[in-house]
């Protein structure tokens, strides 16, 4: 419970996982000086000439997406508090953009911790692990849009978000805040806005979910997981 932990009210995972010692607090302060803020809809970009930028989401949501020349969009993944990300230089067509979905805060994790051998290893390991889990989620996303039905896709995505947010302490009971419009669901799941609406309505009528005013509640995650073939990734509780 150091000053560090208190400085991250929205993101309990990021630093506690690193086990920083007191003498490293100054390093962390430097870390926080790299804080950046973005408004909803803003695309994250890296400085001119720099190869790329590596950061971590502190608060807010973002997404990785591509836009086709004719306007179709595909969202690849959602970035939640605690998630590391990399912005590539090539930000335009054919690439992958990162866009803030809410007010967003990020920090840089490349420079400040250089030289802190211990923290660096822990950080590297944590980021590597996060990267591995993210790859798994990319595969989940492909299965969703490639082989699941609309209702399965929605439930599968909601379950993923539930467990990711739970891991960073952003779930209360069975409920969490979700700043996604139905248009964003559509672009993430490869469906039309209208069909998302109808499927959500159906799921509500069947008593599977509650969804209003930016909050979702998943009733009986057990049952929903079975319906949507969902399996959680990351640190498995094993038994």
């Amino acid at each position: 419970m150091s000053a560090v932990a208190q400085a991250t009210p929205h993101s309990p995972l990021t630093f506690s996982a690193l086990g920083l010692e007191d003498r490293q607090v100054e390093q962390v302060r430097a870390f926080w000086r790299t804080l950046e803020r973005f408004g909803p809809g803003v695309q994250l970009r890296c400085r001119e000439g720099q190869g790329c930028k590596r950061g971590v989401i502190v608060s807010g949501w973002a997404c990785e997406m591509r836009i086709l020349p004719d306007g179709r969009r595909q969202i690849f993944s959602f970035l939640l508090p605690g998630d590391p990300f990399v912005i590539e230089e090539n930000t335009d067509i054919g690439g992958r953009g990162i866009v803030a979905l809410t007010r967003l805060e990020t920090i840089d994790w490349t420079n400040p911790l250089l030289g802190v051998a211990d923290g660096r290893d822990a950080l590297a390991r944590a980021v590597e692990e996060a990267s591995r889990i993210k790859q798994d989620r990319m595969l989940d996303q492909m299965v969703r849009i490639g082989r699941l039905t609309a209702r399965e896709r929605l439930l599968h995505l909601l379950l993923e978000l539930y467990y990711r947010l739970e891991a960073v302490g952003l779930v209360r009971g069975d409920t969490f805040r979700i700043p996604l419009t139905q248009a964003l669901f559509a672009d993430a799941l490869g469906l039309s806005l209208v069909h998302i609406n109808r499927t959500l309505t159906q799921l509500r009528r069947e008593g599977h979910i509650l969804l209003r005013g930016g909050s979702v509640t998943l009733l009986s995650r057990e049952k929903l997981s079975a319906i949507a073939f969902f399996h959680a990734h990351g640190a498995p509780p094993a038994m």
Copy 2:
């Protein structure tokens, strides 16, 4: 003229012809001792207890896929000669399996080259680059199955395979060998076998492609790329 793609058991090349120094010959021999063969349909697995296995495809095709409990399949990517791959321990449900689609030859790239400083760096860089490009292709795959129509998906995938195979010298003119059944196309593109068949028939009738007996010809890649919103990855010709 890729050495990797062409190197086969029949290759009569002598080491002296390659200009290798004596001390390197043993390294290369060790390298080739890790050659493994798999038959079509066989799933690649790692030794018991080992964390994972890293290899490179020498000849043949494979794919990464997941199978759902109810039998639905999603193919994530195809592995072609020259492609590096990693086999994870957890090979079962919820994971990602690598399956040979043809007779397959692979080599290990972890042990043998350790200690060859120069080669190690080059190898590491090459694999890192390959990994980056593969990530980009994963995003392409998501756009395909999430936002493209059946005809666009097929053309987009065929174009990807064309350029990847061209890069390793496996294309002659506009034509290349493609060991994929229509069922595999279906599982890769999130469509049904029947619809793949109809779409292919249509593309043939329209004069876009030739496809018979395991060979494809792409007529006018320019036009097809425009239709399918295709952009090649990897070493960009830039100008």
